[in-house]
C-alpha cells in the first residue's frame, strides 16, 4: 500500500460556482490505476465525483481524462507512474482534470458529442462498398486488413482530440481521431471512394493539411493508433498517388518543403513561399496569391527578425552546409525514393525489431494450429502498384 493525494478538478454546473480543485487521500498499491483510485474515492468518500468508466481495461474508451496535464485513460495509468510524473514535487500528488478541447459537463465528464463525434460524422464514417458486392467475402490481401486494423484499434476515447494543438488554434480542424477514422476507409480496399474521400479532406481548409505535426496525438493515444501517422499517410496517398493539388496549397507546400531540403539540406525560408505556389517553375513564383500571402505574413516576418528568430541574410539567400553533408542528405532522398514502394510503418505489421528471429524460430507444431499461413513480412500492396510507380516518375 502507498498513500497518494488525488487532486481532482471539480465542477458542478448546478452550483453556479466556478470549477475548483479538491484533494482526496487514498491508500492503494502503486501498480493500481488512477481509475481504481477515483472509484475508491467514489465508493468510500464522495459518490458525487463524476467520471465516465466501464471496462477498467483500456478497451471501452470511457475514462479519457487529463492526468498531470496530459490526456490518457485513467484505467491505463498506474498510480506510481502518475505520482512520479506529477506536478507536485512530493511524488504522491496526482492531478486529474477533464480532457481539453471539449466543453465540460460535470467534474471529469466532457461533452464528446459536441466535438469528437461531430468530427467523426464529418468524415463519412462508413464503408461505401466497391461494386459489385461479391456474393461471398471481398478478396483482400492480408496486409491491407492488418494495415487498417491499426486504425480499427481506435476506441474513440478522445485523448488525441483533447491534446491536439491545431484544434486549440482552429476548433474546426477535423482533428486526429476523425482523420484516423478516415484512413480506416481510405486504406480499406473494399471502399469505393478513396479518391473522393481524400479530395474532400485535402480541399477542406480545416482538413488534413491543418495538422502541424506536434506529435501530441501520438503521445496521447493509449492504443497505438498514432493518428498523426495516419494523417501523413492520407497526405501521401492524396498527393503521391492521386495527385490531388488542393486549393489550400497544402500539397504543393509539402512538396516545396521536401524539395528545398533536398536542394539545400536546410530549409530555405525565403524560397518556401514562392516554391509552394510555383514549384520549380520560375514564373509560377509570381502567383498573385503568393504575393497576398507574403503581405499577410509580413508582420510575422518582421516580428521574427526583431526577436532574432532568424537572420534576414540567411533566410533570403539560403543556408550553406558543407558539401559532404549535402551529399549525405541527397543520399537519403535517393534511398527513400528509390524504393519500389513506400514503406509504411504499422503497429500490427512492424511490431518489434526482434520479431523476425522469433518468426523464424516458429515451431512447426504451433504453426499447424492455425488454419492458414502467416505473412513473413509486410509484402507489397498489390492494390497500389501503378500509383506507387507513378509517384516516382512525378
Amino acid at each position: 500500500m502507498a498513500e497518494y493525494t488525488l487532486k481532482l478538478r471539480r465542477y458542478d454546473p448546478q452550483s453556479g460556482e466556478a470549477p475548483y480543485y479538491e484533494e482526496f487521500q487514498i491508500d492503494l498499491e502503486p501498480h493500481r490505476s488512477v481509475l481504481e483510485a477515483i472509484l475508491k474515492v467514489k465508493a468510500e468518500q464522495d459518490g458525487s465525483v463524476g467520471i465516465r468508466c466501464s471496462c477498467r481495461a483500456a478497451i471501452c474508451g470511457s475514462c479519457g481524462v487529463r492526468i498531470n496535464g496530459k490526456a490518457g485513460l485513467a484505467c491505463h495509468t498506474h498510480l506510481d507512474h502518475a505520482a512520479k510524473t506529477g506536478v507536485n514535487a512530493d511524488g504522491k500528488t496526482i492531478l486529474v482534470e477533464p480532457m481539453g478541447n471539449m466543453p465540460v459537463i460535470k467534474d471529469l465528464i466532457v461533452d464528446m458529442d459536441a466535438v469528437h463525434w461531430k468530427k467523426i460524422q464529418r468524415v463519412t464514417p462508413w464503408l461505401i462498398n466497391k461494386q459489385p458486392v461479391p456474393e461471398r467475402e471481398y478478396i483482400v490481401p492480408h496486409e491491407n486488413m492488418v494495415d487498417v486494423t491499426q486504425t480499427m484499434a481506435c476506441i474513440q476515447c478522445g485523448a488525441c482530440v483533447s491534446d491536439c494543438l491545431s484544434m486549440e488554434v482552429d476548433p474546426l480542424f477535423v482533428g486526429p481521431a476523425a482523420s484516423a477514422k478516415a484512413y480506416r476507409f481510405v486504406g480499406d480496399p473494399r471502399d469505393a471512394e478513396q479518391f473522393e474521400r481524400l479530395k474532400d479532406l485535402a480541399e477542406d481548409p480545416h482538413g488534413i493539411y491543418d495538422c502541424t505535426h506536434c506529435f501530441n496525438c501520438i503521445e496521447a493515444c493509449p492504443k497505438g493508433v498514432a493518428p498523426m501517422n495516419q494523417i501523413m499517410r492520407l497526405r501521401r496517398i492524396a498527393g503521391n498517388d492521386h495527385h490531388i493539388v488542393d486549393r489550400n496549397n497544402g500539397e504543393r507546400h509539402e512538396r516545396a518543403f521536401v524539395s528545398l531540403i533536398r536542394d539545400y539540406g536546410l530549409l530555405h525560408e525565403a524560397e518556401l513561399l514562392p516554391r509552394s505556389y510555383g514549384g520549380d517553375s520560375w514564373f509560377g513564383k509570381f502567383h498573385p496569391a503568393a504575393g497576398q500571402e507574403l503581405l499577410d505574413s509580413l508582420p510575422v516576418v518582421v516580428r521574427g527578425v526583431m526577436r532574432g528568430k532568424f537572420a534576414p541574410k540567411k533566410a533570403l539567400f539560403g543556408h550553406r552546409i558543407p558539401s559532404a553533408d549535402l551529399k549525405a542528405v541527397k543520399a537519403i532522398y535517393e534511398k527513400v525514393e528509390g524504393k519500389p514502394r513506400r514503406y509504411e510503418l504499422n503497429l500490427y505489421i512492424s511490431g518489434y525489431e526482434d520479431e523476425e528471429d522469433a518468426a523464424g524460430a516458429a515451431e512447426p507444431t504451433a504453426v499447424s494450429a492455425y488454419s492458414d499461413g502467416m505473412p513473413s513480412a509486410p509484402g507489397p500492396d498489390p492494390n497500389r502498384p501503378t500509383a506507387a510507380s507513378e509517384s516516382e516518375s512525378a
Binding site: I120, Y138, H142
Partner: protein, 561 residues
C-alpha cells in the same frame, strides 16, 4: 414524448443489430442506452465469432459442438437456426466493413477455439467485438435518418398497457436528469448481462443486469439462471479477461508442478475443451494444492510464435504488460477461473419474443436457450447478432399491425417519485458500494465453479438480507446532471433481483450439468433434470418453474473432450 415503432434498450451488438434490422424492415426505430453505444460491453469480446462458412465445415457440426458444449441443455431448434444462419451473418458483417483477418489467399481466415471440432472462429486480431461494434455503429450513423439514438439515457421502468403488453419505457436523460416516456409498439431488451453481481468478474461496471431485472419485474420468466460461466483464463487480481484465442493459438496450461494437467481431464481437446471443463480442471488443481501459492495456474503463451502473438493477440500483450506486469511473449502469466457470462436470462423464443406481448430480448440479457449449461467461446457474438437481427425484424413486423400506444403521464410522476425517494434517503446508512461488494464476494464464494447446498443456502440468506438493506443505502449526490450515484442505487436493486434468481435456480438443480457443478450431486442426471429451470415473479416473491428442453437430432450422450 418520443414514439417509435420499435424501441431498443441497450446498444451493444444485439441492440445495434436489432436496430439495423428493424430499420431495414421499414420501422421507425429508437435505440436507447445508458452509455454511448461504443462503450457497450460487447466491445470487450476478444477472440472471435463462430460460423461454419468453410466448404469443408457444416452447420450440423457447429450445431452438434454447441449442443454438446451446452451439456444437452440447449434447445436444439434454436441452435439449428443460429448455426444455419451464421455464415450469412459473417458475410453481412464483412460487407458492412468488419476488417476480418484474411488468410494467405485473401479469403477469410479462421482460428481454433474451445469445444469446437473445426477451426471456425472468424476474428479481427483479438479485438473482434470492438471491430464489429464500431462497424455497426458506423452503420447506425449512416442510417441516422431512420434510427434515433438516445445515448446516455438510463431506463428505469418498462411500461405495460391494461392488457399486459409492453408499450415502452420510462428513461432518465443522464445529462439533464429529466425523465421521459418512450412509447413504442415493440420493445427489445438488449441490455446485456449481470456480471457485476460477482466480484471479481471480467464484466464491465455497466453489466448490472438491468434488463433481466426490468423484465422480471413486469412478469417475464427468467430461465437457466443457475448457469454462470467461469472463464478459464482471468487475471487473479482484477478479473481481467485473457482471451481463449490464446489457447486457440496454441498456449498451454500448467500447474505449479509444471504438469500440463489438461492431459488428465480432456485427453483429446486438452486446453481447448469447453470452458466449464477447463475451469473445473483448474479449480480442482488449485483446490488440491497443485496451484501456485496465490491460487493460480500458469498460462504459457510463449508456445505461440512471438510475431504471431504480437499480431493476433496484441490486446492481451497490452493487458499483461499494463495490468499484470508480465510480458506474455516471454513468460507465463498467472490466471484462474473467473466469472464471465450468464447463460441464463429472459426466456425468449427464437424470434426474441418473451411471453409478454410486445417485449423482446436478445443477447446476453436473453435466454433462447442456445447456450444451455455452457456457452462455447465465440458463440456469444453470434448469439447477439443472429437473435438481435431476428428480434429487430420480428418486432418491426409486429409493429406494422399495431396502433401506437400512449402511456398516461402519471407513469412519469411515479418514476420521479422513486428517484426522489432515493435522493431523500438519510445519510449515515451503509453505502451502496459496500452492499454491492458484499453481494459480489458472496456470489463469487458460494455460487462459483463448485457449489453445494450449504453454500447456496448461505448465499440466499445474505442476498435476502442485502435486499432488505438496499432500499436504505445512502448516496451522496443530490444533483440532477450526471448523477451516477442515483443510478448506482437503482442498479444495485437490479443486481440483487438477478442474484436471488441465480441462487434459487442453483439450489433447485440438484445435479451437475454444464457450468453448474454440485459437489453434493456430482453427476448429470438426465432422468430428473433434463429440463430448464425458470424463475418468475409471483406476487412479491420469486417462484420456480420448469420448461422442456427441445431435442431434435442429438440425443444426450456422455460428454468427454
Amino acid at each position: 414524448m418520443p414514439a417509435h415503432d420499435v424501441l431498443i434498450i441497450g446498444a451493444g451488438l444485439a441492440g445495434q443489430r436489432a436496430a439495423l434490422a428493424a430499420a431495414d424492415a421499414g420501422a421507425s426505430v429508437a435505440i436507447l442506452s445508458k452509455v454511448h453505444p461504443v462503450r457497450s460491453h460487447s466491445v470487450a469480446a476478444a477472440g472471435g465469432i463462430n460460423a461454419a462458412l468453410n466448404p469443408e465445415d457444416s452447420w450440423e457440426s457447429h450445431a452438434f459442438d454447441t449442443v454438446k458444449g451446452s451439456d444437452y441443455l440447449g434447445d436444439q431448434d434454436a441452435i439449428e437456426i443460429m448455426c444455419r444462419e451464421a455464415p450469412d451473418e459473417i458475410l453481412w458483417l464483412e460487407h458492412a466493413g468488419v476488417t476480418f483477418h484474411r488468410n494467405g489467399t485473401g479469403h477469410l481466415g479462421t482460428r481454433a477455439f474451445g469445444g469446437a471440432s473445426q477451426a471456425r472462429t472468424y476474428y479481427v486480431a483479438d479485438i473482434t467485438g470492438q471491430a464489429i461494434l464500431h462497424v455497426l455503429y458506423e452503420r447506425l450513423m449512416m442510417h441516422g435518418d431512420r434510427i434515433s439514438r438516445y445515448e446516455e439515457w438510463f431506463t428505469t421502468t418498462l411500461l405495460q398497457d391494461e392488457s399486459g403488453a409492453c408499450v415502452g419505457c420510462v428513461a432518465r436523460d443522464i445529462r439533464t436528469g429529466a425523465l421521459e416516456v418512450f412509447n413504442a409498439k415493440s420493445v427489445i431488451l438488449a441490455s446485456g448481462g449481470a456480471g457485476q453481481a460477482f466480484k471479481p468478474t471480467t464484466n464491465a461496471l455497466i453489466c448490472t443486469g438491468d434488463g433481466i431485472a426490468q423484465a422480471y419485474r413486469i412478469g417475464a420468466p427468467l430461465m437457466d439462471m443457475e448457469m454462470i460461466q467461469y472463464h478459464p483464463t482471468t487475471l487473479a487480481e482484477n478479473g481481467f479477461l485473457i482471451t481463449e484465442g490464446a489457447r486457440g493459438e496454441g498456449a498451454h496450461l500448467y500447474n505449479a508442478l509444471g504438469e500440463r494437467f489438461m492431459e488428465k481431464y480432456a485427453p483429446n481437446k486438452l486446453e481447448l475443451a469447453s470452458r466449464d471443463v477447463v475451469s473445473r480442471a483448474e479449480q480442482t488443481e488449485i483446490n488440491e494444492g497443485r496451484g501456485f501459492p496465490d491460487g493460480t495456474i500458469a498460462l504459457d503463451i510463449t508456445k505461440v510464435p512471438r510475431k504471431r502473438t504480437l499480431e493476433a493477440l496484441r490486446e492481451i500483450v497490452n493487458i499483461g504488460k499494463d495490468f499484470a506486469g508480465v510480458d506474455i511473449t516471454r513468460e507465463p502469466i498467472h490466471i484462474k477461473p473467473g466469472m464471465h457470462y450468464i447463460m441464463g436470462g429472459v426466456k425468449t423464443d427464437f424470434d426474441g419474443q418473451t411471453p409478454i406481448p410486445g417485449l423482446y430480448a436478445a443477447g446476453e440479457v436473453a435466454c433462447v436457450s442456445v447456450h444451455g449449461g455452457n456457452r462455447l467461446g465465440a458463440n456469444s457474438l453470434l448469439d447477439t447478432l443472429i437473435f438481435g437481427r431476428r428480434s429487430g425484424d420480428h418486432a418491426a413486423q409486429r409493429a406494422r399491425g399495431t396502433a401506437m400506444p400512449k402511456s398516461p403521464v402519471s407513469v412519469l410522476s411515479d418514476a420521479q417519485g422513486e428517484i426522489d425517494a432515493i435522493l431523500n434517503r438519510p445519510t449515515g446508512g451503509r453505502r451502496v458500494s459496500e452492499i454491492k461488494n458484499e453481494l459480489g464476494e458472496t456470489m463469487n464464494r458460494y455460487v462459483a465453479v463448485y457449489r453445494d447446498e450449504a453454500g447456496l443456502a448461505t448465499a440466499r440468506e445474505i442476498v435476502q438480507r442485502l435486499k432488505q438493506e438496499a432500499p436504505n443505502a445512502a448516496i451522496d449526490d443530490k444533483g440532477t446532471i450526471f448523477n451516477q450515484d442515483v443510478l448506482a442505487a437503482i442498479e444495485l436493486g437490479y443486481m440483487l433481483d438477478v442474484a436471488e434468481a441465480i441462487v434459487m435456480a442453483a439450489q433447485e438443480r440438484r445435479e451437475s450439468r454444464g457450468a453448474q457443478f454440485r459437489t453434493d450431486f456430482p453427476t448429470r442426471n438426465d432422468a430428473d433434470w433434463l429440463h430448464h429451470i425458470t424463475v418468475s415473479l409471483n406476487g412479491d416473491g420469486p417462484a420456480l418453474g420448469t420448461a422442456p428442453v427441445t431435442i431434435t437430432k442429438w440425443e444426450p450422450q456422455e460428454r468427454t473432450y
